[in-house]
Symmetry: C2
Subunit: 487 residues, 2 copies
């Protein structure tokens, strides 16, 4: 404890409010020490300053954002403050429908597409007073094997992660205060981990996907990428809840996610899997997570060794579901305009058309086995959360196709970055990635140095509150989130 919880010292505020967290900015806006226009200008300047190198944005909305900021400011002048997101500049992954604003999904197929309505999440964020400064770069339809132009703010030669590449990089570069991502196999948590920011994949059904370009209905999740855990809670308070327009939306009551944030971790039982999740990871990752567990234990949490049977099947199960569902989404488009897809995306979509229904159904049945194993693990050990490394390594080089874990063979990029996260898409459990340090040496050339590492905290269904509470306690004790990338 005892480490400062604020991102910036008060002195910096007036200079560069883009570096503030949502919670900090909201407080200053509420007390009229900071104006939404001032804050938005600072963010737009920060985009000017960084985005020619980071390439986080697919579409910038400077004029609209300033208009919105002036309206937000006027509302405050009238004594109307919509809450913690009022006047806060945010960005949306370019899969979220934005009425009157192009939504390209990273693909030529949607080039020129301008939705006539907002996604539910877009609408909720607008109603809460958030200022949309732009749409962020995504892999093509969140699926593409293409390399987006986006770069990691910690090292411009390295990947920002994907598919929510632009959202992760923008938050890390402080070129927005927060951004929305989507997560089908890990696409929120992977960028969060490698970009040194916070990413939350909520419980399946918790946040509406209406108006978000789908990848795989039964695995897709919408969630926030933020600078701090508290900010993730503030966004969840706005976007979580039932929506009849998303058939998978759960009618489960939503509590204030910030309420229990400061309750600490004393007595909480944290499961640490003895199988799978620590089997093939870089040394820096293992020791960062181990230190994080020590920090949590020092604060009173109880560490419990657990085994999660069959969890290693999550990748074949997840991919066996994802591929045909994605192919079903794109089936008519790919017949009409195959050449507008990137080659890698098209090959994946074509391959998914060859999957048999019985194999898909077998994957869905096996999925329920995995769900049951997670449920049993939580019940049998009376766990409050599961702690794992978000990713087995740090950000790889842009041109790097595989990773060396010291095994006989190099592991392909795709496998590396999906295998730790996809079990939580398959199970639907809520999962948070929080920065937990930096890689320390290059381990014989296998990993970059000084790159962010992510701690993964997964919880019971619809118990985002506990996940955030643990993340907040850890973040407050370590303050990794106050470190800034060199850009």
């Amino acid at each position: 404890m005892g480490v400062a919880e604020t991102l910036v010292s008060k002195a910096t505020v007036t200079d560069r409010p883009c570096f503030l967290s949502i919670a900090e900015a909201a407080k200053l806006i509420a007390s009229r020490e900071l104006s939404p226009v001032e804050l938005t200008r600072s963010v737009l300047e920060r985009i000017d300053e960084t985005d020619a190198r980071v390439h986080a944005y697919a579409t910038r909305l400077d004029e609209r954002a300033l208009d919105s900021a002036r309206n937000a400011e006027a509302a405050i002048g009238r004594g109307e403050n919509a809450g913690p997101l009022h006047g806060i500049p945010i960005a949306l992954k370019d899969l979220y429908y934005t009425a009157g604003i192009p939504t390209g999904a990273g693909s030529d197929v949607l080039s020129g597409f301008v939705p006539s309505h907002d996604a539910t999440v877009t609408q909720l964020l607008r109603q809460a007073g958030a200022i949309l400064v732009g749409k962020t770069v995504t892999h093509e339809f969140a699926y593409g094997q293409n390399v987006p132009p986006t770069r990691n703010p910690w090292d411009l030669e390295r990947t920002p992660g994907g598919s929510s590449a632009g959202s992760g990089a923008a938050v890390a570069a402080h070129s927005c205060l927060a951004a929305m991502g989507t997560d089908t196999g890990g696409s929120i948590r992977m960028p969060a981990s490698v970009d040194g920011v916070v990413g939350l994949k909520p419980t399946y059904g918790r946040v509406s996907r209406f108006g978000v370009v789908p990848l795989s209905w039964s695995l897709d999740h919408c969630g926030p990428i933020t600078k701090t855990v508290e900010d993730a809670a503030l966004i969840m308070n706005v976007i979580a809840g039932p929506d009849p327009r998303d058939p998978a939306s759960a009618s489960v009551a939503v509590d204030d996610a910030t309420r229990s944030l400061r309750e600490g971790v004393r007595g909480l039982r944290l499961g640490v899997p003895s199988n799978y999740f620590f089997d093939r990871i870089h040394r820096s990752v293992g020791s960062a997570v181990e230190r994080a567990l020590n920090v949590l234990e020092d604060m009173g949490a109880v560490r419990v060794a657990v085994e999660i049977p069959h969890v290693e099947l999550s990748v074949p199960i997840g991919i066996g579901i994802l591929m045909p569902e994605a192919s079903a989404v794109h089936q008519s488009w790919i017949r009409q305009q195959p050449s507008r897809y990137d080659d890698g995306t098209r090959r994946m979509l074509e391959a998914g058309e060859l999957v048999l229904a019985t194999d898909y159904l077998r994957a869905q049945r096996a999925r329920s086995v995995i769900k049951d194993e997670f449920k049993r693990t939580f019940q049998n050990h009376r766990l409050d959360a599961l702690i794992t490394p978000t990713e087995p390594t740090a950000a790889t080089r842009i041109d790097q196709m595989s990773v060396d874990f010291g095994a006989d063979e190099l592991e392909p990029f795709f496998s590396v970055f999906v295998r730790q996260t996809i079990p939580f898409n398959v199970s639907g459990l809520p999962a948070l990635s929080v920065p937990c340090g930096f890689s320390e040496d290059n381990e014989g050339g296998r990993i970059g140095v000084g790159l962010p590492i992510g701690l993964h905290i997964a919880g019971r269904p619809f118990d985002e509150a506990t996940v955030l509470r643990i993340g907040f306690a850890y973040e407050s004790a370590t303050a990794w989130h106050t470190r800034r990338p060199p850009i």
Copy 2:
């Protein structure tokens, strides 16, 4: 109105209580005018009398049944009556698990299989005091293209319908007081219709399928086949409700299904589709349903012409889901012991393995369109129920492969008997078949004479109460249920 509501005159009771309805028998058991042993003996004698010709039973349980009946009687002696099913002899389709009693599912594959536990429904019926007199014949795994030995009690040369063939025939023959069936494309309502008895397919998720051999998870329903509508309500009161052991079980509160039974139909709005359901049916069927609608209108119901867009896609959608789901269930068995399947079943299961996942997913997506159309129809017209013919014709001859509706081509048997019912498996809406008369002439050799016809009453999700209420009012006014087959 004015027609007697009872199945038998009081005088018959002591002679042949097997001819009683559940409600009638329960009243006499409660007043100790009829003993469970006496009733069970009468049913076993009726099986002796009819089953060498009807072949409704796959397994008889005479000794166990008499033991249970004696226990039921002893309980009553102690003043313990478990309710309306206490001491009532019933039968179960041979797909329902029965602890310690063979469960063959109509297949050599399960020959010799003796489950160690009961299905949830089996258990609930036992707890309610019902006496299990036997397991009834089913098409192989409720899917087979084989012709089971079972015959229609109204004409032994004709089909009893399927796949709940034995359950329908046993209830019609009065060789049990009621029986459980399963319905994936119409397998409760088809036998009910052609055997002149009552069949209820509840809302999807209303009755647990745990311990029932599956055919197609997303279309399977369990429900009762009974002599009267009130009896269906009495069984629903026992078997309906959430069950964590069936993942599709709905956590929707269950009301007493008999409570509103006698409230009549005054002011109820009955939708009669102008498309699809009356397009290709025999004249006897059309006029029986028309007369039934007149009876309901005379009692104060309001007839509303409606159109249900896209409902004609229910057959390809339903079959596109059913086939691969069935193949997924049987995939490993069929590889291990292909020769133990009937040829027709095996061919269907093999064909289902060729369905692509994208086609299956397309069918599931189209299914949600059908669901929406039904929902919209109910909402826009403020309907209480939809009225259609259960089947387009009456029972066909055992060897008959197709039916002549006067069109250019004969229609294959399978299509004839599934097309009117499967829309309600696809939509999941509750649906009841009630006897509504008999075929009157042979329509140029196209239909048998003097055979039962069924009226189909479908309702809003989880509104079995209204469906039963309409069925009860109609049944009370017409008393078709008091007619006995010639056997």
